[in-house]
Every structure is written in structure tokens, then in C-alpha cells.
Symmetry: C2
Subunit: 95 residues, 2 copies
């Protein structure tokens, strides 16, 4: 939509700590449950809930069991933000 993308992802396990310097990031949980860990708090989310991670704030998504989420963010945002590494996913894989 405009210059934004809606990305479907399956999470399982602990992701890397990272932040996105230039954009907020929306998590919408489609199925299952997850937590968004911040340095100062932990936000539990279940299907039907959403959360906006503010620009520049370090966070780590954690899913004890497989969790389906939809992310909303500007085109081109890298999933691992400033952290990089083996969890970095390819963008623009259309479903």
C-alpha cells in the first residue's frame, strides 16, 4: 500500500536483538502467541493483537511455538534491522 508492505512471517524461537533506525514496525499476530521483548519490558501478544515497535527501539521477537504474524512496514526494511546475521531474510518474496 503506497510505499508500505504487509509481510507474512512464521516465528519460532528467539530472534536477534535489533532495531530499525528509520521506521516504526507493526506486528499483527495472525495465529498463535509470541512475546515482544524490549530492554525494559516484555509484551505478550496473541492472535488478533497488534503492537507498534517505535523507531530506533531495540526489540527481540520470541515465539515458544510457531507463531504466524503480519508485519507492516515501509518497503525495503530488513527484518534484522541493524543486527544483520543469519536470520536476515530475503525481501519481496510474494505470496
Amino acid at each position: 500500500m503506497n510505499d508500505y508492505q504487509f509481510k507474512l512471517a512464521k516465528l519460532h524461537g528467539e530472534f536477534v536483538w535489533h532495531s530499525h533506525a528509520d521506521t516504526d514496525e507493526v506486528f499483527i499476530v495472525i495465529d498463535g502467541a509470541m512475546t515482544l521483548e524490549f530492554r525494559d519490558k516484555t509484551i505478550p501478544l496473541v492472535a488478533g493483537e497488534m503492537y507498534v515497535v517505535p523507531k530506533g527501539v531495540e526489540h527481540r521477537p520470541v515465539a515458544l511455538q510457531e507463531c504466524c504474524v503480519m508485519l507492516v512496514e515501509p518497503r525495503g526494511v530488513v527484518n534484522t534491522g541493524d543486527a544483520g546475521g543469519i536470520y536476515t531474510a530475503q525481501n519481496n518474496v510474494w505470496v
Copy 2:
């Protein structure tokens, strides 16, 4: 998120034909069912489905029974677009 808003709305009945000259508009159906009418097609949507109305394209949301939706669009977009009228809603009513 950034300069975008996620708006919750309940639809019931036939809305006005309108378009948004400057932005796409995302409909995500939370509960119930609705149709998005275009001049050349009709898109049925049920809970869990989403649709992106392209910028500048005339459309009319129709819900035979009450339907809960989440809209994603830039801050300040008017719900009735270019049409105005009695269905124009106040923006920035926070829940």
C-alpha cells in the same frame, strides 16, 4: 505507525461511492463479512481477509450485516474521500 493510522470501524449498509486521490487504502476485515464494490467488479471479503483499494479508484463498501474492519491509511485521510456528506466521520477518535 510513522505517519499512518490503523482505524477500527463498524460498517452496516451501503456507504457512499468515493475515492481517495492521494493514497491507497487497506481494508482488513476483523469480524463479519462485507463487499467492496468497484465500478467494474465486486470483491467479497470475510474475517481475516484484506484488500488494498488503489489510489484514485472509486469504491463503495457495503455490509449487509454489521461488519468490523480495520483500515490502514495515512493520518488525516477522510473516510468519504472526495464525496463528503453525512457519512463523513471525525478523525482521531482514539480507542
